[in-house]
């Protein structure tokens, strides 16, 4: 069992009358990468600023390495912070930026030089020592900020929207690189982000936050497939909702569900909460039947009219209007299938096990 490096217990913070963070508790284990995911204003940035020491919690405790951080000022905590805008010192070279923390600590000159070289090698920026931040690309600046924060061997790395200032293509490339760098240095890391893909690809575990509260914690797959609330389901990935109520059991593992789209069969065991009034299906779990292909045994079937099909290269997104007037999104992989024309009548099937039931 790895030791806990960062621990928050019942932390709350209000700004005036508005609660920013309410009763938040979580811990990060040594070497773990944890993402705080939520929309802007959900309290994730305030949480990060409390851990860094720029904001004092009203209630609760924050411990880093088992030490209570109450009354410990930012420069006395050993955290590595990477801001969204990187906050590189514009008047210093890349080398001086990375060396800044080591200088403040009063390390010996040759020890600083060795550590800077080690860090720049880790982030693949050897040869850029003398450059000024303004002469670097966004991706390079980000890696300098990372190297500068990691140089002081912090107890915890705090990354605030680390990739959101980059363009989409670069962001995808750097995700894997960033994760590799953090893992190679065995950094205990907390990432704050509103970008679900960033959270899912970088983090070992995700905490979903909304309105100052922790909604759910888990690995990416668990949050995607078994969201506990509608808010979580809607925040991670896309959803198609069906409302109604649970009916009788068909088998021990299957139940009926009556909705205005008709009767469906959903996967649910005896322990299921009878108060459930809705389920959602992820767009990629819907399948459009071609021609007069029969709907397979045990699958749910809905019919609708195609509003539009968006050809996105690797995927095709279909917007389909159901008889109830509700529009659902159906995503298919591009396998060179014929594109149906707008107005076409479509039959769509999904498995009972793809129905995510939520109270």
């Amino acid at each position: 069992m790895l030791s806990t490096v960062l621990e928050l217990r019942n932390v709350s913070k209000r700004f005036g009358n508005a609660p920013a963070v309410s009763d938040v508790s979580f811990s990060v284990r040594s070497g773990q990468i944890l993402a705080l995911l939520g929309p802007s204003g959900c309290g994730k940035t305030t949480t990060l600023r409390m851990i860094a020491g720029f904001v004092d919690p009203d209630e609760g405790t924050i411990e880093i390495g088992g030490r209570d951080m109450r009354d410990v000022r930012p420069h006395e905590r050993n955290v590595g912070l990477v801001f969204q805008d990187y906050a590189l010192f514009p008047h210093l070279s890349v080398e001086q930026n990375v060396a800044y923390g080591l200088r403040q600590r009063g390390d010996a000159r040759d020890a600083i030089a060795r550590r800077v070289e080690e860090m720049l090698t880790l982030v693949h920026l050897k040869g850029f020592e003398a450059r000024r931040p303004a002469g670097l690309s966004g991706g390079q600046q980000q890696r300098v900020a990372l190297a500068r924060a990691m140089a002081i061997t912090p107890d915890v790395m705090l990354l605030d929207e680390p990739l959101s200032a980059l363009d989409a293509k670069l962001r995808q490339e750097l995700r894997f690189e960033l994760k590799q760098i953090l893992q190679a240095a065995h950094c205990t890391t907390l990432i704050v982000t509103h970008d679900q893909e960033e959270a899912m690809s970088l983090a070992d575990e995700i905490i979903v936050m909304d309105r100052g509260r922790v909604l759910q914690r888990g690995i990416a797959a668990a949050i995607y497939h078994t969201p506990r609330t509608r808010t979580v389901a809607e925040f991670i990935g896309r959803t198609n909702w069906f409302e109604g109520k649970l009916g009788q059991a068909i088998t021990p593992a299957l139940r009926e569900f009556a909705s205005d789209e008709g009767r469906f069969v959903v996967a649910a065991d005896a322990a299921i909460d009878n108060a459930i009034v809705q389920f959602c299906v992820r767009p990629e779990r819907l399948r459009i039947l071609t021609g007069d292909e029969p709907a397979g045994e045990g699958l749910n079937l809905v019919q609708g009219t195609l509003l539009s099909a968006a050809y996105l290269g690797s995927e095709i997104h279909h917007a389909v209007k159901l008889s109830s007037g509700r529009t659902i999104i159906c995503i298919e992989q591009n396998r060179d299938q014929a594109l149906p024309a707008a107005g076409a009548q479509l039959r769509i099937v999904f498995r009972p096990s793809d129905c995510i039931l939520i109270a």
């Binding site: 930012p74 420069h75 906050a87 010192f89 403040q104 500068r148």
Partner: protein, 279 residues
């Protein structure tokens, strides 16, 4: 094209011509007197003859440098402007740093207070200082002038330094702190080096305004110490000749040169930009 669109086009065209005309008129109004002064300063004639000058010469410039009364004024002005710039900037930096750390409301109030000399007419400041100095029995003319000049240039120094500090992202200071720098060390290693150009700009502003002042200086000057502009004004009353034009051109030249220096160290648009209140 509809009638409505056609009418709109005519209106736009008329508006365009009017705006251009106003800009041209403004530029002419500002520049023509300066151009006249420039040409007059090289006029070889003894009297104010019709434009343009029939002959050019350096005689007024030679006369200026040969006149001990005016040269003494120039010396005083330069000494005064240099000292004023140093003192006003040092005060400005201290004030701006303090403002930067005050909570919003209080900072706004303090800024208004610091900038208040700007809205009091120079004549009023000069007269008030004259009375105040007499009461306080401060008799040294140079010190009297210095006090007045620091007072009127200080707002400019505060404003430029504030603008420079406001342009520094708070995240830079915060990151410095997470890297182990105390707030004070973060100021000296990050904030101050980044605000340096703004501070230099403030000093240049103070220098120029001190060099230029008449209203305050005229009350505080005496027969023993007086600034160049004050000397020019009294010369204007006593014996008018075109030396004044020559001096005006020299001061203009020096101001323009300083503005170029200012643009070079800090960028003029950044210095005169609209971010002063971002404390």
């Amino acid at each position: 094209m509809g009638k409505r669109h056609q009418r709109q086009r005519v209106i736009d065209d008329v508006a365009g011509v009017t705006v251009t005309g106003m800009i041209v008129a403004t530029v002419l109004l500002l520049l023509l007197p300066l151009a006249m002064t420039l040409s007059m300063s090289f006029d070889a004639r003894d009297y104010l003859g019709p434009f343009p000058p029939s002959e050019l010469s350096w005689r007024w410039y030679e006369k200026f440098f040969a006149d001990p009364y005016l040269v003494k004024g120039l010396k005083t002005s330069l000494q005064l402007a240099t000292l004023t710039a140093l003192i006003a900037t040092a005060l400005g930096v201290s004030a701006a740093v303090a403002l930067d750390r005050l909570p919003g409301r209080l900072a706004e109030l303090a800024i208004s207070l610091f900038l208040s000399p700007l809205i009091v007419p120079g004549v009023v400041i000069g007269f008030a200082l004259l009375l105040f100095y007499s009461r306080a029995s401060l008799d040294d003319t140079f010190l009297r002038l210095l006090g007045g000049h620091v007072l009127i240039t200080f707002p400019y120094a505060v404003r430029t330094v504030l603008a420079a500090l406001g342009g520094i992202r708070p995240s830079l200071r915060e990151v410095a702190q997470t890297l182990g720098a105390s707030p004070t060390r973060a100021f000296w290693t990050v904030t101050f080096p980044l605000a340096r150009t703004g501070i230099a700009a403030g000093a240049i502003f103070a220098f120029v305004f001190s060099l230029d002042d008449v209203a305050v200086s005229i009350f505080l000057s005496g027969p023993d110490r007086y600034t160049l502009p004050v000397a020019l004004v009294s010369m204007l009353h006593a014996n008018f000749d075109l030396t004044i034009a020559a001096v005006a051109v020299l001061i203009m030249g020096a101001s323009i040169a300083l503005m170029f220096v200012l643009d070079w160290v800090a960028g003029l648009d950044r210095v005169i930009g609209a971010d002063y209140y971002k404390a």
